[in-house]
């Protein structure tokens, strides 16, 4: 233990013997660390936001459908269970939230225009907690119950249809016999969403109203379940699987939206690659610094060896020197990252490229997310790789022949 303290003190002093070199190397490590963390925080923020927004549109962490429905989202492929049956199965099972909904493609027509939309027949109370629509921020009002006779459209869609709150539109879809099922609705509210495509895509109506329009009794096309953590949906998934039979397909959100699911897995991989690439660029400088540091004091090393210091001590001392350099550099980089990210946490406005971000599935405000896990992982990876990189110069230093080393000029 005492030896370790001595080695540390030695290493620290050696580090500052050539302070210019140490400062240049520290700057490089600090800039590298800053870039690793800064970039990760931005990307992590973007992906998190995408996933949260995306899940709220799906919605839910786990869904059940008829096995055919995801490929052919028709009213014919609805779940055969009635509302009462669903309530007895899922009502007391202890889900965060769950809701049965009717979701079918439809056509909405105003006196001016027609557009395709996804018709959602919902129970507004059951979905309040996880809907992507903030009920209170709707122009006009949101649906007031399952028997509401009104429709809530996206603001952008209403624009295109040249309709507004109070006017009437016709929704058209098909019933199970493929007869045209249509019905007039009064527009009671217009919702706003982060992305224009979302505002164009959905029309909300009361669940019972939708069921009677489509002539499907009390059945629904999907049931959605919410757990407490979207990163770990297995508990909810397993619980749902336990409550249903083979007549329905249970899907996690990562399967419903494969793009988002892939994104989440990709994020961690991307981060690790980025950290390693930056480290490799740094490692050349790090090894170089150590090689030089050893070269300058070959004679001292020789002398220490001649006086009986064990080669392992030399090895340890050089590695400690390298670890100290990295640790100080990492610390400065971490602080730098914290200082630059904190002021940006209110969101960075990138609406100049909003249409482009929509292609990524991201909104036009970027909220950096400085996650402790990412910071810890970055630091640990750099320390481990740094340790590996300093092994070779340290090993060489400890293998010198004392006499040769002392006499070297």
């Amino acid at each position: 233990m005492h030896m370790f303290v001595v080695l540390c003190r030695l290493a620290w002093r050696y580090l500052w013997r050539n302070h210019r070199r140490t400062i240049v190397m520290l700057s490089a490590i600090a800039v590298g660390t800053w870039a690793m963390i800064f970039m990760t925080a931005l990307t992590r923020g973007m992906v998190d936001q995408m996933i949260v927004d995306g899940i709220s549109v799906i919605p839910g962490h786990v869904q059940i459908h008829d096995p055919e429905y995801l490929d052919d989202p028709s009213v014919n492929n609805r779940i055969a269970l009635g509302d009462a049956e669903l309530a007895t199965r899922f009502g007391d099972a202890g889900f965060e939230a769950w809701a049965g909904r009717v979701r079918v493609p439809a056509v909405v027509t105003s006196e001016r225009e027609s557009r395709g939309v996804t018709l959602l027949g919902i129970d507004p109370e059951a979905e309040r907690s996880f809907s992507f629509v903030d009920y209170d921020a709707v122009d006009g009002r949101f649906l007031e119950g399952m028997d509401d006779k009104g429709v809530v459209l996206g603001a952008k869609l209403a624009d295109t249809l040249e309709t507004r709150v109070g006017k009437r539109v016709v929704l058209m879809s098909q019933d199970p016999e493929n007869e045209i099922a249509d019905r007039g609705f009064r527009v009671v509210g217009l919702f706003h969403a982060e992305m224009e495509v979302t505002e164009e895509a959905y029309a909300f109506v009361g669940k019972h109203t939708a069921q009677s329009m489509l002539r499907i009794g009390d059945t629904v096309t999907e049931v959605v379940f919410l757990g407490d953590d979207y990163r770990n949906v297995e508990p909810v998934y397993n619980k749902v699987v336990g409550l249903v039979d083979d007549s329905v397909k249970v899907s996690r959100w990562t399967e419903v939206d494969t793009y988002l699911g892939t994104m989440m897995g990709m994020m961690d991989g991307f981060m690790l690659i980025w950290v390693i690439v930056i480290f490799l660029a740094l490692s050349f400088g790090l090894v170089n610094t150590l090689v030089m540091a050893v070269f300058e004091r070959i004679r001292e090393i020789g002398l220490m060896l001649a006086l009986g210091m064990k080669p392992a001590m030399i090895l340890g001392q050089i590695i400690i020197e390298s670890m100290m350099l990295l640790a100080v550099g990492l610390f400065i980089g971490d602080v730098l990252a914290w200082v630059t990210i904190k002021p940006l946490e209110g969101g960075i406005d990138i609406s100049a490229v909003a249409k482009g971000m929509e292609m990524f599935g991201a909104s036009s405000v970027l909220y950096p997310n400085l996650s402790m896990d990412d910071v810890v992982l970055t630091n640990v990876v750099v320390m481990i790789l740094g340790f590996l990189a300093s092994l070779s110069p340290a090993w060489r230093a400890s293998r010198y022949e004392p006499v040769e080393a002392i006499t070297k000029v």
């Binding site: 050539n18 070199r21 897995g265």
Partner: protein
């Protein structure tokens, strides 16, 4: 060989390990830069082409406001005569007229809302790749035939095949009810879900009849032989239409703002990463050259005492750096080109890439190609930063006092 050159060259190899490590940092960054830039620009090109060749073309003549609202009544009057006049004036066949309407398509079993294009069968293949993607049946032939081509997913969802009847319901230009029965002539497979599920094409004259268009359409699509000639062509079209307030010409950046902005967003994050790599290399060089100057203080003192001007010594240091940088540039560019070329033949892909890039109309495997530009753009920037990094060590020489310098060992 010039004596200064020889001196610089020898100085460089005094510490061959250090020099190689510094060059190694350059080669590492350069290889990555060449590969990333080749991949990136290759992807951008694909993204633009793949997006534009589906429907937008390089430019379109439309009614003002149409691109934002796509309303039925924002028409280009007498669209076919306009297209044929453009064809003769610009002496190009890659010009085609189109109409667009939204309607409900019903088969025996299913009904879906879809977008219907009215196209000129003779010219559409010159501006769009859809006609070439017919997998079953054939593309449209007669301009007034009551037939339609649809996407594979739509065909599957509607459960119909070539030769079957499809009923279209929609709203005509005058607001009246439009209905028609058409025969499926062919089924296309673009590989893009949204298109294969939501789009159909029918002959323009038939389209105009069904939707009471009275000879009008919504767009004239123009495609230049190459993307970089689109600007010149657009100027000619604009000159031709000047004085006509009823029509506007939109280039592809306006028609597909998402593509351009996605590229911008991607570029800014890519350039951040490249910048960091370049800066880290610069630190590495700064460290090396600073060391190399400091360890020669004694020697520089002597040469200065003998009458050598500090400026001359500074140039020597710069020359050493340039030599080192040049080796890094050359090796890096070659390594990068080889690395990239391997992927030119084998394709570049990673798990999950297919889901990721489908939003940008990209295939799951891309084939980057190293050009002179992508091969040298990155390495040249690295070279310039390398030189810039050596400026500080070179300038330090001016502060050197010969006598003091000679006294340092």
């Amino acid at each position: 060989m010039n004596i200064v050159l020889r001196l610089a060259w020898r100085n460089l190899w005094r510490h061959s390990r250090r020099t190689w490590l510094t060059i190694g940092a350059m080669v590492f960054s350069n290889t990555l830069l060449v590969f990333m830039i080749s991949l990136q620009f290759g992807m951008y090109g694909l993204m633009i082409n793949n997006t534009l060749q589906v429907f937008s073309g390089h430019m379109q003549i439309q009614a003002p406001g149409y691109k934002d609202d796509q309303k039925m009544r924002q028409v280009v009057p007498a669209v076919q005569p306009l297209a044929s006049r453009m064809r003769s004036e610009l002496q190009s066949d890659a010009i085609a007229a189109r109409g667009w309407a939204f309607g409900l398509a019903s088969s025996e079993e299913r009904s879906y809302g879809i977008g219907i294009y009215g196209v000129e069968p003779a010219f559409e293949p010159r501006v769009s790749n859809i006609p070439g993607l017919i997998k079953q049946g054939r593309y449209l032939e007669q301009n007034d035939a009551m037939e339609i081509v649809i996407g594979t997913m739509l065909a599957r969802n509607l459960r119909i095949g070539v030769g079957d009847e499809l009923t279209l319901l929609g709203t005509g230009l005058d607001g009246s009810f439009a209905a028609a029965v058409v025969i499926v002539a062919g089924i296309f497979d673009s590989g893009v879900k949204e298109i294969d599920r939501n789009i159909a094409e029918m002959p323009l004259a038939a389209f105009q009849e069904v939707f009471y268009m009275d000879g009008a359409g919504h767009q004239v699509v123009i495609t230049a032989p190459e993307l970089d000639q689109a600007g010149v062509l657009q100027a000619r079209v604009e000159a031709d239409l000047s004085g006509n307030d009823e029509l506007v010409v939109h280039g592809w950046e306006i028609l597909q703002p998402g593509v351009k902005q996605a590229i911008q967003a991607d570029m800014s994050s890519a350039f951040f990463m490249y910048g960091i790599l370049v800066i880290l290399v610069a630190f590495s060089v700064l460290n090396t050259q600073l060391m190399s100057v400091l360890e020669r203080t004694h020697e520089f003192g002597i040469t200065m005492a003998l009458g050598l001007k500090p400026g001359r010594l500074g140039r020597l240091v710069m020359l050493e750096t340039a030599m080192m940088g040049f080796i890094g540039l050359l090796l890096g560019a070659i390594a990068g080109a080889l690395f990239t070329t391997w992927f030119t033949f084998n394709g570049f892909s990673y798990p999950g890439m297919e889901e990721m890039v489908a939003n940008f109309n990209l295939p799951g495997r891309v084939y980057p190609r190293a050009t002179l530009l992508t091969m040298f753009a990155g390495p040249l920037v690295v070279f310039l930063f390398t030189l810039a990094a050596a400026v500080y060590p070179a300038l330090r020489l001016h502060k050197l006092h010969p006598v003091e310098a000679m006294r340092t060992n």
